[in-house]
Amino acid sequence: MSFFFNQLLIGIQLGSQYVLVALGLTLIFGILDISHFAHGHMYMIGAYMLYIVMVLGRINYWLALIIVMAALAVGGMLVDRLVYRPLRGQPHINGFIAAIGLILFLETLVRGIQPEALRVPKPIEGTLSFAGINMEAQRVVIIFGAILMIVLLQLFIKRTRLGTAIEAMAQDREGAALVGINVNRMSALTFAIATALAAAAAALIAPLAFIAPEMGSVLILKAFVIVVIGGLGSMKGAIVGGYLLGVLEAMAIAYISSAYKDVFAFGILILILAIRPTGLFGGRE
């Protein structure tokens, strides 16, 4: 029984990453109608940034985390400005194609400079034991870190003017435009927030994983699965979907097999889109 709970918690930890990445993606998709396929690679850059700041810059983990989030917020805004803004108004698929170019660019760049996987030291060593469950401290950090981010995001959305504007746009882009919200500013802000969240996800998992150039590739597809299923622009959907996928995957690995774990998520997506081509929560075409 404790094995089950152990797996459940691992699933929640796994889900935490998915949630953070999917939240950013759903905001971008919902507000800006951009298929930001390169989001996973921004996540990857975040992990490498962490290495640079922590290992080369000898800054402690917690501070590094914040620096990386800030740096990637800027990075996200750059991507928006240079890659997506020129394509505004063009068919949707063009943005997707540009994202593919960006992915190739980033992945090759990183692989060329540093082909071998990297590791960063854990900020908190050891395992925690409670209620018959053993868990690495870092996993707990991930879970709570993610919850903190989600809470902060919600506060921002509900309590600030900018945040309310973002929520409005996520739910009804045309209506918000009519009210006179500055598209460029909103675009930059959305990308900043989304990429910072992805950076956080990367920084949280980095001590537990290998930092490698292809880190973001499979993650982005899963994030898309979550966003499409949970609803474009729906933060709730991203949160619920993310945790759900994490738990289901952890269970699948534990009880079925680990070989095809990625396939699981994609199979679900194909199945769902086959039945409802506009995603589970339909709406936006």
Binding site: P86, G101, V263
Partner: protein, 331 residues
Amino acid sequence: MAEKVKAAGFGKAGFYLLVLAAAVLIGLPQLKIIRKGTLNVLTLALIWAIATMSLNLVLGYTGQASLAHGAFLGIGAYMFGIMTHRVGMNFWLSLLVACLMTAIIGLLIGLPSLRTKGPYFAIVTLCFNVIVFEVFKNWTWLSGGYQGQKVPRPTFLTERWARYYFALACLVLVILVVRQITKSLLGSSFIAIRSNENLAEALGIKTFSTKLFSLTISCFIVGLAGSLLALYNGFVDYTITNYLYSFYILIYLLIGGAATLSGPVVGTVGLYWLLWLIESWVGEFRYLMFGLLLIVVIIYFPRGVVGGLKQFWDWLRRQYHGRVQTEGEGA
């Protein structure tokens, strides 16, 4: 005016260019200065051009962005290898079966996924590609694992130049097939769907089955490309189903010029050769150029090299005609 409405050919300038290109490609291996390495690269480039042409049919002409063509390429390759080596089927029959199998799988994949539009379709097909990759990687009975699948070579293809001409012949055949389709009434259904799917449906075109048909034909062709790749290398392993190939084919197509007949060939041969050239200078970073190029092209030159040239040519022609007009009136 009636001539315009008839299936127009390439136009005079295009025709001469075509003859020139044909002469070059056919005469190439005979030139003494061509090294073995170059011939190899060119042969591979021609094979990849076939794959790009297949994507051109379904994306350039029908507007559906499939990112699964890497998987289909691999499926074709494996089918061919398995048929010739494990089943012991004759060469030509194996080729046909490989293409047919790939087309059938394309059909089966299209059934659920073509109900989705635009980027959703791209994502679904990409997911499919990843699934296929994982399956081939893990299911060693099918794929031969790390050792892969041996692909025997028929005697008439032992010579390097024989393989070159065979690939060239296949490419020419594929170009003719695609040309015939795009100039036909079937082709008009395809471009209608690409241009304005809702209007096409309102005009009585069965959009779903037409898209499905386009994907199926496209998969038949990319199955051929996969088989040729397997043949060329004498061997395939699971890496041939890599989804990165879906991206590369997309890049060759967009940079060369989608919805043109020569664009895919120009793009593939040009880029493939370019990659090979700069490999010694920049090594792994060459794909970086790919990525940048794709971004620049999609933003500033979405019609690619050939498309852009055509546009420029048309603009020139209109300027010229305009001038003739006014001169006539002046007199």
